[in-house]
């Protein structure tokens, strides 16, 4: 499995500098691909609708996911519930390119995450801080994303998660080697991963931003804060002109450091998703699965 883990980390490296978009139909998947998405996340309902509908949210119908796999040539990801080993096995059986063990769905297990080292297909997991990120990597995640607060169109949580993670990384880099054992204890994470971060100044896997990204400026902000790429969930297909907004966000991620280009990209995008503020919502998805 060591080789598989490496290949799975490598696929995430190929997604860097790209935008992964939530899609619910083959038609949306084609729009996303044509707009320049580097991968799509197939799910029955986008997070904003999951939030509005309430109730238990589960893995999508495999038939719906297969329809999207047939519609596009870029990698297709899908979500399973935290700790739901069987849902993950099902997604592996239909040869999904990446599984998102996601707090957006209702958790199936309040204590244990999936032992992702037992799977051939790769996993991406959400994290609010370095502790969560390193625990997920220890469990076999080969890609990390911020949790943000999905389905809100409010970027504030993704920003605080990314800032916290980056500042914790910088803090580790600045430590003496003999302080790393205590750091591992504080972080509740394996020593070898803590040592890796200390030595390399980054996670051993790719780290994307997710949760609440709705505009090209949001995407550029996350890239400037150290994200290696961006997930956009509800932000695209909850907006007035999805194709145009999607293409603009793709370009904003490539030229995130060029304000003139970003200004041009931000023009005439139509209505952004309305969004709700983080303090106005009842369910904080980011608190699921620590």
């Amino acid at each position: 499995m060591a080789n598989r883990q490496e290949l799975n980390r490598n696929l995430a490296q190929m997604l860097k500098g790209g935008v992964i978009m939530d899609v619910t139909t083959p038609e949306q998947a084609r729009i996303a691909e044509a707009a320049g998405a580097c991968a799509v996340m197939a799910l029955e309902r986008i997070p904003a609708d999951i939030r509005a509908a309430g109730g238990v949210s589960r893995m999508s119908d495999p038939k719906m996911i297969k329809g999207i796999q047939e519609a596009v040539t870029i990698p297709v990801m899908a979500k399973c519930r935290i700790g739901h080993i069987a849902e993950a096995q099902i997604l592996q059986a239909i040869e999904i390119d990446y599984i998102d063990e996601s707090e957006v769905l209702s958790p199936a297990d309040n204590i244990y995450h999936i032992d992702k080292t037992q799977f051939e297909v790769p996993f991406v997991c959400g994290a609010r801080n370095l502790s969560e990120a390193l625990r997920r990597i220890a469990e076999g995640a080969t890609m990390i994303r911020t949790k943000g607060e999905p389905g809100t169109g409010d970027v504030v949580q993704a920003v605080s998660h990314m800032r916290l993670m980056q500042s914790q990384i910088r803090e580790l880099v600045g430590k003496r080697e003999d302080e790393l054992f205590e750091a591992a204890k504080q972080l509740q994470a394996p020593y070898d991963l803590v040592k890796y971060v200390h030595d390399n100044g980054k996670l051993p896997v790719v780290n994307f931003a997710a949760g609440g990204v709705a505009t090209p400026a949001d995407a550029a902000l996350m890239m400037q804060l150290g994200a290696e790429g961006v997930f956009v969930g509800s932000g695209i297909f909850k907006s007035g002109d999805p194709a145009k907004r999607a293409a603009a966000i793709v370009k904003a991620v490539t030229n995130y450091n060029d304000p003139k280009e970003l200004a041009a990209l931000s023009e005439d995008l139509g209505e952004a998703m309305v969004g709700i503020n983080e303090h106005e919502i009842e369910v904080l998805m980011a608190e699921r699965g620590q």
């Binding site: 490598n10 190929m14 044509a34 580097c38 040869e95 390119d97 990446y98 790769p122 293409a247």
Partner: protein, 195 residues
């Protein structure tokens, strides 16, 4: 020597780190203004070829880069780069418009030729002009299905062409930038020097 690295999307940083280990100066190309700098060669990294192709076109880079390659600028494409340089491509979405490409190399590339991520693999194999085997990491990789006479085959794995050269153009279906072996990059730099 100064190498341009196409940095629209994908694993461009890995190439930059490889060049830096070899003591070679490089710069990122994210827009037309970047491209206009002096350069001795170009690397097109792995990533999603549909994403990179679309950005090449939308950013006005497609034609100037194609003209530079046709004018003899040495270019090295890995994975998505192999697809972007291929004249013909099989395995695109049937319903979608064909993604833009540079199409300067007389090859037919098969996209996602090994299937989805479960088909990704690693082997050690021979590369013409390099002694011994080199590590080859294939990630949702393409291969070259057909190549015309002016294309020199440099490596085959399981009967499929996975590395080739046509004059100033070098392509690999695998990712030398993901492994520690620097000899394929050195091979490209030799091409640049002998131009």
């Amino acid at each position: 020597m100064r190498i341009a690295v196409l940095a629209l999307q994908g694993a461009f940083l890995e190439h930059e780190m490889m060049l830096s280990k070899l003591g070679i100066d490089c710069f990122e190309v994210r827009q037309l203004e970047d491209w206009q700098q002096e350069k001795d060669g170009l690397i097109i990294p792995g990533g999603e070829s549909t994403t990179q192709g679309k950005l090449l076109r939308d950013l006005g880079l497609l034609t100037p880069i194609r003209e530079a390659i046709e004018g003899g600028l040495p270019v090295f494409g890995t994975c998505a780069g192999l697809i972007l340089l291929a004249r013909e491509v099989e395995g695109n979405s049937p319903s979608a418009p064909v993604p833009p490409r540079l199409a300067t190399m007389h090859t037919t590339a098969a996209r996602n030729a090994y299937g989805r991520q479960l088909g990704s693999f690693h082997v050690e194999s021979h590369f013409k002009g390099i002694e011994g085997d080199i590590p080859m990491t294939f990630i949702r990789a393409p291969y070259i299905k057909e190549a015309s006479e002016e294309v020199e085959v440099l490596s085959e794995v399981d009967g499929h062409i996975v590395a080739a050269r046509q004059g100033n153009q070098l392509v690999t279906a695998f990712h030398p930038e993901l492994d520690d072996d620097m000899r394929v990059h050195e091979y490209f730099l030799k091409m640049v020097k002998s131009r």
